[in-house]
Amino acid sequence: MSERILDINKLSVTFGGLHALRDLDFHVDEGEIVGVIGPNGAGKTTFFNMISGMVAPTSGEILFEGKSLLGLDPNQVTARGIARTFQNVRLFANMTIAENVMVAQHCRTKQGVWGSLFNTRAFRQEEREIREHAEKVLGFFGTRLIGYRLEQPASVLSYANRRRLEIARAMATKSRLLLLDEPVAGMNPMESAELTGLIGKLRSEWGFTIVMIEHDMNVVRDVSDRVVCLDHGETLAQGSFEEVSSNPDVIEAYLGRPLEKKTT
């Protein structure tokens, strides 16, 4: 349980003169659910972009399962076992729901031009497995994404279902670590409660380790083992939800300085 799956040391990134992240230390243990919170512009999404290889850090070190991720392309990072979702849902809107999930298994499969041209036994076997895995992953969300909808383009989905499909797509990559960027943003309270339950199940039933950026404090409280608060690219506080949420620095970052402090 306590094996360290992701270990980040002294990570910094600057865009021109702007320090998006500054000497960030962060770790995730196997089987943990870590909530990352922080005000807008704190560097949370940059942090995800950096882990997933879309932005190269200026300095520092990212170790995944003991091996460095620096210099890897995003697809290599995914192949290592880290998958992510996007804050501003980025589905392949004109591919069908099934295809969105099938295409995510690309790095776990290997049939190429020859297999598909000659329709080899291995090719057919692999296609079947891809399809089965896709349906299994979509089945995780109950009746919402399954059934006759499989062959419909993703663009017909509602906003909440698009978020679910994004999570399904990340799950389908057969990764060990999921990075969820605001998974319940735009959902109503009932839907976010339901998704909170599913995030718990992602760990208990599917064995994913999860890092989640979220603004909805109910979700963060309900599901996180540990909470990290970022502000201005630095770790402000970390610990259990109660510790972090009562931390004066965190409150100050979110709400500003209390009035009486100013008078002293």
Binding site: D73, R90, A93, N94, M95, V103, H106, S116, Y159, R164
Partner: protein
């Protein structure tokens, strides 16, 4: 999908109709349309098209292709002036005499322009800059009679044609469709005269009835075709559509069986066809086949993987030159003695390898770029390859501008040989490779790689984040495309028997791309239709089509067609389902919404309305 692009919503009767007086027109709009029609008349007249195309008769004494180029203008603008954007729930104007008046006005303006042009040509001579400002044009415009007669006829004729164009809107859709079918049938029967002559040449009475000795339909032939096609359109209405829907609705083995039957019939027809057609038509079929092969390859690169490759001709050239070097007796003095002199089929295998390697070599640096940058760089590489073949530096290998000549025919043992002397054999060879290309496109689209291409086309960054090695996947598309183009090159060099750098101009890339776009990017059937329509009827860059007279105006027509397609039907003649969804996202979602396929707000699928989730497109 055709219901998606229909902009004429008055037919469904959902709008409130307002009756307006016959002269209560938007005169501004009428004037604008009339001015455009007038400009079009001038442009077409002075482009030289009417004079050059006058030699091609459509209906023997009455209508030539040259006159057709002029008389369609008032009809088109007469139709266009009645075009009205009707929004749902808004009041629309009732169709009626108003449209006729507008059409007549627009027609009259275009006729006036022709009359003015006629007078100007008669009185001034500015042939120096305008080559086609000629007595020939004058005599064409006056119908070989007096100027007054010409002016009178053009004013009257244009007004009538404008009215005809406008009246099309007044007719019931059924009748309108029948009229369009009649016009298209008469025109295409006339265009396909050479083919029909070859096919049914044995049945003299039929040919004599339909076609005049000097070319073009006879009057009674045109009437027969009009009656038959009109009758068929009226009685057979909806049957084709019903059959197609029936086919589309079928699934599983039943559908597979039907598809197999259709494929078998098509194959047999294609194999039998060249025995009945003459040498000229077979030559044409072979050319269509070569361009089809190229277009299918480019379709994989552009249509499936979304890589806009403007230098595709490079691989055609590599295929052609490699085959030429390996098969020709004396490819060039700089080649070492040990260079093998192989039969065509062995050369083809080596060509495939070389083309794949060149594809990798060019692709590796290029493929990391995206969008416009990639297009420009591929354009550059396309030219570089041609200039290398042309260069003095490699003169000893590829013969520079003199090229490589005396390329032998492709031998296939006892089956025979394929060379330009027998276009039928070339056609069969092309057919085999086109079948391979179609099969490859069809298989690849439905595979792991095809899905990866689709994802890359939609959002490259996300595709990469989802674990797709985008560089490898795109490179794969590039290489497959290169190999297919090299097939075409190999056949081309055996067919023509000599190749020169000037056979591989960048223009070929552009024309293949136009074939793919006009036909329907990403759709195999669309690419076939595009190749048949563009290369078969209009002709390739150097190869004449059925309308041989068009050769000079081919590029003009291509350009006009391309612009029109981009505006009216960007998904192509036979669209790919996904692509038309991309291009008509809002209409598609509206349709899905009406069918109740869009989600509820609470995410329950199926039966209702979701104002947020449905109409909004995921931000890119």
């Amino acid at each position: 999908m055709s219901d998606l692009i229909s902009n004429d919503m008055t037919e469904d009767g959902s709008n409130e109709l307002v009756d307006r007086g016959a002269f209560d027109l938007d005169w501004n709009r009428v004037g604008r349309m009339g001015a455009l029609a007038a400009l079009a008349m001038w442009f077409v007249s002075l482009s030289g098209m009417p004079v050059d195309l006058d030699s091609r008769a459509i209906i023997d004494p009455d209508l030539s292709l040259g006159y057709l180029a002029l008389v369609v203008i008032p009809v088109i603008f007469g139709w266009l002036v009645g075009n009205e954007v009707v929004l749902e729930g808004m009041a629309a104007t009732k169709r009626g005499p108003r449209d006729v008046v507008a059409g007549a006005a627009v027609g009259l303006l275009s006729g006036l322009a022709t009359a003015i042009l006629l007078v100007l040509i008669n009185n001034f001579d500015i042939r120096d800059p305008l080559v086609n400002w000629s007595p020939d044009l004058l005599s064409l415009l006056t119908f070989g009679r007096s100027n007054a007669f010409g002016i009178f006829v053009w004013l009257l004729l244009s007004a009538v044609l404008g009215v005809a164009g406008a009246s099309l809107r007044l007719l019931a859709p059924r009748i309108r469709r029948a009229i369009i079918v009649v016009l298209v049938s008469v025109l295409s029967m006339s265009i396909f005269q050479a083919v029909i002559d070859d096919l049914f040449g044995a049945i003299d009475p039929l040919i004599d009835l339909l076609y005049a000795k000097t070319g073009g339909l006879t009057r009674q032939g045109a009437i027969v075709i009009a009656v038959v096609s009109g009758g068929l359109s009226l009685t057979g209405r909806g049957r084709i559509k019903a059959a197609r829907d029936d086919y589309a609705a079928k699934t599983g083995p039943e559908r597979t069986r039907q598809t197999a039957i259709m494929l078998a019939i098509t194959t047999v027809l294609l194999i039998v066809l060249p025995f009945f057609t003459g040498k000229i038509i077979n030559e044409l079929l072979a050319n269509v086949g070569i361009f089809l092969l190229l277009a299918l390859g480019l379709n994989i690169v552009v249509g499936l993987a979304g890589i806009l490759d403007l230098g595709y001709v490079a691989f055609f050239a590599v295929g052609g030159y490699t085959t030429a070097v390996l098969t020709a007796a004396r490819p060039g003095e700089s080649w070492p003695d040990w260079l093998p002199h192989t039969p065509w089929i062995v050369a083809l295998l080596i060509t495939i390898v070389i083309a794949a390697m060149v594809g990798l070599f060019i692709g590796a640096p290029v493929i990391r770029m995206r969008g416009d940058y990639l297009a420009i760089v591929t354009l550059g590489f396309g030219e570089i390859i041609r200039i290398l073949f042309l260069s003095d530096w490699l003169n000893g290998f590829f013969g520079g501008a003199q090229g490589i000549i005396n390329i032998p025919a492709a031998e296939f043992g006892f089956i025979g040989e394929v060379s330009g002397v027998s276009p039928r054999s070339v056609f069969y060879l092309v057919l085999v490779f086109a079948a391979i290309a179609i099969y490859a496109s069809w298989r690849l689209e439905r595979s792991r790689l095809g899905r990866a291409w689709m994802a890359i086309r939609e959002d490259e960054s996300v595709a990469e984040a989802m674990g797709i090695n985008t560089v490898n996947a795109k490179l794969m598309a590039f290489v497959v495309g290169a190999v297919l183009a090299s097939f075409a090159g190999a056949i081309f060099s055996a067919k023509v028997g000599s190749i020169f750098p000037s056979s591989f101009l960048i223009l070929i890339s552009i024309i293949i791309l136009v074939v793919v776009i006009v036909g329907g990017m990403g759709n195999i059937l669309g690419v076939i239709v595009g190749a048949v329509v563009l290369i078969g009827i209009l002709g390739g860059p150097r190869q004449p089509g059925l309308l041989t007279e068009f050769s000079e105006y081919k590029l003009l027509i291509y350009g006009a067609l391309l612009i029109w397609m981009m505006l009216q039907r960007p998904e192509g003649l036979v669209p790919n389902v996904r692509r038309s969804r991309e291009l008509h996202q809002e209409e598609f979602l509206q349709d899905a919404w009406l069918k109740g396929e869009v989600d509820h707000d609470d995410g329950t699928p199926g039966d209702g309305v979701d104002p947020d989730g449905g109409t909004e497109v995921a931000p890119a």
